[in-house]
Amino acid sequence: MAATEVLEELERKLAALESERRGRAKTSRADEAREAHEEVYSTGLVALDEMLPLRGIRPGSLVEWLAVQEGVGAEWLAFRAAAEICRSLDSVGRCLVVDPRGDFYPLAVKGFGLQPRDLVIVRPKNAKEELWAYDQALRSGAIQVVVGWIDRLADTPFRRLQLAAEKSGSLGFLLRPAAVRNKPSWAEVRFLVDSVPVAQRQPVLRPGSVGPPVTHGGAGLPFRLFPQEQISVRPGRHFRIQVLRCPGGKPPAGKEIRVDEETGAVRLVPPLAGAKAAFRQAGA
């Protein structure tokens, strides 16, 4: 059998197993939630939903957001998705943040629509308390999304968290460094998030603008000094996202997503020739 045929056969069997699991008798609140409506939660970012074969995240899942480095925006995407899910119909609407380092800034999430009355911040003092807090929050069923930074997670506690989420139907968003990408994971969905450096971005044409298009890439960077003025035009955040694992089929190729900071609009950046090289170069 050729290699491609083997792969296709394996994918068919995997899809069948996942369908069988969804079709069997309800044993957990996650199964009930999945049966109740669309079975998936949208992340609020259509471009991100389109990268997932199921077009969203299933209730009762753990989702890993692996950041290539600090400040690339993995937390931004995770909280954006968490806020969207908390606002969705039939949701208890609460988000719990496990903040062991004590540096989470809650006012930043107001822009995503998360209200302070729906946000619970937990500050455990050590790793044991941290894992316990995750477990309790996921198990309770009273929290829609549990978000937290967790660098080290051994296999057994990871499995326990996955079972807790599956039983209650809550979602767990784990913000982790990309260094753990090769470690075993019980997360149903794994995103690898990086920021597209300015030099690799495509030119952006502003509709209705007067004058030549603003080039964001290339050697001649238009970095202007503004001793007294503010730089008002923000080029937006560019994310490079790769789905390392997801249910429902083979993970698609990585994509670039651009978020306009003036309006909050999100769109997929179509790939250009050389994009694959860019991905390889970035270590995706």
């Binding site: 300015v198 503010q230 730089i231």
Partner: protein, 508 residues
């Protein structure tokens, strides 16, 4: 003040000042002893100013945080003792009550008249080393005014003859009338200093110019308007305790005993009452007792849930010596909540119950201060622009409504909507000093390095200038920049305007 003097007699020779916080980093004086008063310290003054007034006597200055709850509890105990003189004893209606009202209608003859009653009460309170004044009058207002503002000495009593309440008040200052502060200020500005001056003004004009408060207080002092006393009812004590004949160490026995005590306490509770706080205390052989509190987000009488919370705390308890006794006391109760389930409500009672249980469990194991919620405060400095409060203890506080005067403009709504771009998700309370290369002295950063890391900045947005006033403590003057590096990282850094030092404070 008296509570602290009772608890710590050594404070009597100190310049004792009570303070309360007024927002972050702002402390104001709320109570002074006579030594502090002699030094010129008055309530309302910032603590920093009070400290400067003390000057060379600074070693005698003693600053203590006010504790209104403890003060109220102590006053409640005195109220209980006063119930032998009247069946109706009430605490002053105030956030910081300092007076007790006793309705002695039909009781005075049991003590040989009003004089006899006043004498007996005075002797009893003096025996307890209290500083007080007693006044008997026809009305609540008159008794309060004479006791607080009449000519008095410590441990004295005064009786206002029947029908002469208003005459007794005439010479007293306006503060004796219990007026709202803003109304008293207006009257003082108008030259009205005494209650007698107010009597000469027509009542109708007082109402139209100053509102109903002045006329109402005058009428209450005269006995023409009703004023209600809310009797103080002591909180019943639900308590169970056990003393052991032999000291025990086994953890299983400690748990069994605790469960038994919990069952006993639950049996004592009346129907409809739920527990909001428990105090568990374990006595050790020749060692200090161990105790912990269990708080609940919503009142509960579910034994399994309460036991779970106690057990979570028992796991962290370390006995140095064998246990010789244990007690469980209910320190907070509230009516159990019953809510009818609605057909289309977003949050079902079961999800709310699960949420309460989760908060109870997290707070019990991690500590009340480790499970918090936030609310925005008006402060320019980003790290102080919100306040945290524990979830436990806030369930009865209503969600603050937006003032109708402060309308939400489209610009402010948009600003709030874009806060996810303007403020980092991670903000460090202690900013990291960094080295920054900028092409202009006041210009945006161009290159950033700290430790072994070095990054070129390709975009910088700013400056966002944040300054705070000198009156709120250490003033800050910072120019913040949102910077994107050549590796695609988004950072939040600032330059201190005074020193031109750069700091990294957050990541987006």
């Amino acid at each position: 003040m008296q509570r602290l003097h009772f608890a710590r007699p050594e404070l009597k020779d100190k310049i004792l000042v009570l303070h309360a916080s007024e927002g972050r980093d702002r402390l104001k004086v709320v109570g002074v002893c006579r030594h502090a008063s002699a030094a010129g310290i008055v309530p309302g003054m910032p603590v920093a100013e009070a400290s400067s007034l003390v000057g060379k006597h600074s070693t005698r200055l003693q600053l203590e945080k006010e504790d209104p709850q403890a003060d109220r509890l102590l006053l409640a105990r005195v109220a209980q003792r006063c119930q032998r003189y009247s069946p109706t004893v009430s605490l002053e209606e105030s956030d910081r009550p300092e007076c007790l009202f006793l309705d002695i209608t039909g009781c005075a003859h049991l003590f040989g008249g009003e004089e006899g009653l006043a004498q007996r009460l005075t002797v009893e309170l003096a025996r307890g080393n209290w500083n007080f004044c007693v006044a008997i009058a026809d009305t609540i207002g008159a008794a309060w005014a004479v006791a607080r503002h009449g000519q008095r000495s410590v441990h004295s009593w005064q009786i206002v003859p029947a029908g002469q309440s208003l005459a007794a008040l005439r010479g007293l200052r306006l503060a004796a009338l219990r007026l709202p502060p803003e109304v008293a200020e207006i009257l003082t500005d108008l030259g009205v200093r005494r209650i007698g001056d107010l009597e000469q003004l027509p009542r109708a004009s007082l109402v139209s110019r100053l509102g109903p408060a002045v006329a109402q207080r005058l009428s209450q002092a005269e006995g023409q308007a009703l004023e209600i006393l809310v009797p103080h009812r002591p909180i019943p004590c639900y308590r169970a305790e056990v003393s052991l004949e032999q000291p025990l160490e086994h953890s299983g026995i400690v748990e069994n005993l605790s469960q038994q005590l919990l069952e006993e306490v639950l049996k004592q509770l009346p129907a409809g009452a739920g527990i909001t706080e428990l105090l568990c205390r374990y006595l050790q052989d020749s060692a200090l007792p161990l105790e912990f509190r269990v708080g609940l987000f919503r009142p509960s009488v579910r034994k399994r849930h309460l036991w779970e919370l106690i057990r979570l705390q028992l796991e962290n308890l370390r006995f140095d010596r064998p246990m010789v006794g244990a007690s469980l006391r209910v320190t907070g109760t509230a009516p159990l909540e019953c809510a009818q389930q609605e057909l289309f409500e977003e949050r079902t009672p079961s999800s709310e119950r699960n949420f309460s249980i989760l908060l109870d469990r997290l707070s019990s194991r991690l500590g009340r201060e480790a499970v918090v919620r936030v609310r925005s405060v008006s402060d320019a400095q980003p790290e102080f622009a919100f306040q945290e409060e524990p979830w436990l203890g806030t369930q009865r506080r209503p969600v603050p409504k937006v003032s109708p005067k402060r309308k939400r403009t489209p610009e402010s709504a948009m600003e709030e909507g874009l806060s996810c771009f303007r403020r980092p998700l991670r903000l460090w309370k202690n900013p990291t000093p960094v080295r920054v290369l900028a092409l202009a002295p006041e210009g945006p950063p161009r290159e950033l390095s700290w430790g072994k890391q070095r990054e070129r900045i390709v975009y910088a947005w700013g400056p966002e200038r944040i300054e705070t006033g000198w009156w709120r403590g250490p003033a800050i003057a910072r120019d913040y920049y949102q910077a994107e590096t050549d590796r695609g990282r988004r950072l939040w850094l600032f330059r201190e305007r005074g020193s031109s030092s750069w700091y990294l404070q957050g990541v987006f």
